[in-house]
């Protein structure tokens, strides 16, 4: 089984971190391939960057030309999962939703601790659209940017732990979801400080993606996520070096996975 995990930003070192985190939780025999978009922002914080990342992620995945069994979109609260579901036949798992689902299995409520204030609304909207917001106790921002977190995770712990504690005590959260791919590895410290389980979205996504593949299930194509219709698309894929003929059709007629 091969699972693609796609970073949403163009910082290759973050792709490495995410890939390693995913691989650490993969079952024996499961290969994790990390992909980095070829355009877009160095970190994704806000809607403009998130929309751009959505297209960059789709672009990167459809240009991957080996067979694979599932795709994980590794941006917390980002746009784009529905587009991937239309383009692909294999299962697509978003880390925001995977973390929430896993949290709901082990506690009555969960809170998300993320980076910046501006990401809170996006995460809330994604959870609401996914039908997973009902048991969300709160979404809290630590005030640290993605790159600050990536550059110095040690320094970030205090701010994240402080918000996690407020989530447990004030918001009555029973589980904490780490609201950024760069937070992987903080789970023990947060559990120690709060006494509740901590869910990392990347790890959770690996578990769910593996499960879907083993169940033999793929995205329903009956209505919302039906394959895009055949039509003229100008300027897609948009990264350098893409095949021009394909650019105008979206490569819809080609096989996309094993």
């Amino acid at each position: 089984m091969r699972i693609l995990i796609v970073n949403v930003n163009t910082t290759a070192s973050m792709t490495d971190t995410i890939r390693a985190q995913a691989a650490a939780y993969a079952s024996p025999g499961v290969e994790i391939v990390g992909l980095t978009p070829s355009f877009g922002p160095e970190s994704v914080e806000g809607n403009f960057e998130s929309y751009l990342a959505a297209v960059a992620v789709m672009d990167r995945v459809v240009r991957y030309d080996e067979p694979y069994d599932a795709v994980i979109q590794a941006g917390y609260g980002e746009h784009g999962r529905e587009g991937l579901q239309e383009l692909l036949d294999v299962p697509v798992v978003d880390i925001t939703e995977a973390a929430a689902q896993v949290a709901m299995l082990i506690g009555r409520t969960y809170s998300v601790v993320t980076t910046l204030e501006r990401s809170v609304a996006q995460i809330e909207d994604r959870l609401r659209l996914a039908g997973l917001a009902g048991r969300c106790a709160s979404i809290r921002a630590s005030g640290l940017s993605v790159l600050e977190l990536d550059g110095n995770p040690g320094r970030a712990v205090d701010a994240i732990v402080a918000e996690a504690r407020k989530a447990v005590v004030d918001d009555r959260a029973e589980v904490i979801c780490l609201g950024c791919g760069g937070m992987a590895g903080l789970d023990r410290k947060i559990t120690a400080a709060t006494g509740v389980p901590v869910v990392d979205g990347v790890a959770a996504s690996v578990a769910l993606a593996e499960g879907l593949v083993r169940l033999g299930l793929t995205t329903s194509k009956v209505r919302t996520y039906a394959t895009p219709r055949s039509k003229t698309v100008t300027g897609w894929p948009i990264a350098g070096g893409f095949p021009h003929a394909a650019a105008s059709t979206g490569r819809r007629d080609e096989p996309r996975s094993r």
Copy 2:
């Protein structure tokens, strides 16, 4: 890894079917143990029977004296999952919720096709409490009882397929969940008739339970699912042969899993 799957009724042949279905989807090295309650109804249809089954399931699980890693409650729409979560430290997965979660990963909406009209409200309530009802398009009853289904699954197909088709066409469901353990094996016929993926709750539960174990996550004990307090409990466990001393304490101080 050992996963207990507990039937909610006292019909041992149904436990066998459920266990086999679970085993068929388990990863290599995962042992599936099927348990049958020692008291309760031969099939569970309605709240009285479901409450009785909830206690019978808890009774059966706490009397299992080998180590295990996770428990699956294999009754669709039945009471009791929260009680197991309090009593145990290992993850507990309910097939109703597992099916819904998996369905939400592969389609925007799902419908449940169950047995009798009287079960519809129970399933709806369980999904609502679990925070998973937002993407539920409908819950439909085929009109067949659990035992009719178990006795002659072939005969049941038409009724179930008919409701599944209405769910897809009229209720705009994009995935169908099989709302009864006894429906395992009908997935291909329903997919053929409706063109949408079909999720069996037992299989889905195995995937999720395995995932939780691999992630090293267990139920949050911080508030709602905290271990029961130490107090005098009369008449529990209630089945024959249990140790009397334990009966008055709920065996709370003993290890419950490996």
Copy 3:
């Protein structure tokens, strides 16, 4: 008119208190009968105990062999009301719901002040399922257990009043519901401290149960609360001394009330 009021725990002195509170609010000519389950926990705090109590309450009521007109389940936030509604033809009133309904008649919002943190979620779930959560401002825990409250109600007042005041000031509650049968009699002190009316669920249930009987209304049997189907039930009723023949049928064919 005879109304059964069933304690959910096995502490007989609490049954007496509850029965006396109910009798104090009953109209002339209404007889209140207090029942204590013959098995289960000495106090009910959490889901495991609540599920066990649900069965114990059903067991106790169906073994009561005099005619009666209505049943009150006197546990705040506990499971089981739907099961009683299936088994019986007479009206069943739950004190959680009765308190909320009465509160909604005399104020725009209400809060519940209960015992332990672990009960908050259960109460919230019961109100939500009953369709009565929309006007619930908050559910607050005093931190006192049921038995502490029962043993020394005087000592409990301060903690309860403190939470009630927060409910009124911070959560904008306009009515307070006493979230435990053992809190009866605290209403005046809480009203004095907060300036809002206080509703005791036991008293409220008596008013509603009497009202239903006078209106000649009984539980709808059309779908959700239909009488259990005829089938083999092993080990029910489960308390000592029950008639064995009945155990396997749930006594479904016998009259249950006058």
Copy 4:
């Protein structure tokens, strides 16, 4: 105990019918007084008429100069209950809400069958504001006006029964609420046709109003329903013959009930 029941329209014969229905369900020793507004429409169908009726009902009640213990507003889905709650210290019960509450005690869902299409939205809004819409399966209109219903109830039965049956079969209602004061007496026919209990709002209100009085509970004055502030009000009470001095103060400082 004396309970005022106020018709919302100016048709005195409908007041008589409503009063008789209320009296038929009142406990011994409870006096029912029927009041008719001195201005407003002959029947209330729509918001303009309902707002006018709201003022007319308040006008009529505050001019009643005998002591009383509770007030019932006998218009289904009409405005004004909150105003009465501000003006009075005794409990105020609205038949729309009373019927819904009683229905929710005896079934999982209820539907309302009312007169004209234009009343459906008003009823829905009143139930939603009261926090009682969650278990409402549907609100259906028979197409008959209030006066047609009042003039020839026999003729109305078929249309009402037809909608009630659809509510039970198609909308899954388990209880039917009669959505107009003039429908009293149709309950048996509807039960015969549908097999579900039928709740008349007038009767239900009597039961709830009696209950509130026996519980010694009155409207919370802490915030939303606080007594109106002392200020200059021109043209109120507005009906002929009212004392002019009082007109400018709203009679706020005078006792309003025993």
Copy 5:
């Protein structure tokens, strides 16, 4: 284009203020006519006063005998808009809803800062019924009455700014709506203190009413806001000097606007 803006209270100086605020935002060629009810309270705070004002506003508008193109009801959180919509063919805009709509166009969430605590519930209910509450972060009361605000707006600023700041910081509001007609002119100070845009409902209503007229759209008459049926209405219009013949018919058959 002529737009009527109706004050909800009988204080003529407030009508002047409201009219001036509206005129300041009207497009060239749009005439703003201010109307004051001929009966009702000097300020509207609470349901009793609001219901009376609803009728007084309807009374005033239907007695206006020049042609007009739209009507603005200038009371924040008050009853009555639906009645006007039934009586009139031209568009009716309520300042509560207009402010919320405009706020939702320029921010993800909004809070309302109003006068007294007792008005909070009314505003919440109006927003909920209008389907505009989903993005409402909070409704906060400054504690100042309408007349205090009108008499000394300078003094009111601090209290209002303090609540607005809490709304932005604690409730995460991104826009502030001024919850009282008398607050016009405070927008700059609140923006300076909070950094978020401030919406005045009167100004917002002018923009929306103009827009509706230019779009050629009027209230749907198909069901909820259908013209009142022809029937006997006693005592309406209710202000002194009204034509008696019209009083009994509600003037339904006469043209109401150009």
Copy 6:
């Protein structure tokens, strides 16, 4: 005043139609500029295309180098509005939301009639996120694609009218929103067939955008729609001819409007 209206697809003739429709409803002195994205699909139907269009629309707008006062995104149910709000200081109006807001001002409920089944979920999600779904009665698909509609609007009328009629009769809609820019001009036929007002989103957006400009209001920058942070963005703007230096910063520091 200058308002940009941006088509979401690359079909220039549709831009012309949309621009003409907008201009027909603009006030005197308001200039409407139509923009066509320089890349993306020829019509937008589904999430992949919609995400690509979101980026293409942002790209087109930020490359427009004349001053302007507001922007209208003219795709029904499409992604991207939040990104524009971050990038720009002037108001941004989405036709989906504008149509819903205007519809809610003139009727209690509205339905959307759109093109293909696959667009229904997207529209529902956009309305839900915008907080405008509460009064949405239904979203119905005519089954015609955008290009079929554009190529032969006459042929489309019957299908659209048929769905609109069902929306009014079956779903109880009181207003119809045209769920595609290409449907402009069908309003009279639909009103004639259904008796309810019809709202075109392009026209509605012009009214709202003008209103916002006259009110002097712009998007709140306090949290969700704050200007993107300064960081390295690779490959943006992505269309040919953009200044390379700006490409790496998103041109965040340059003025974007007059």
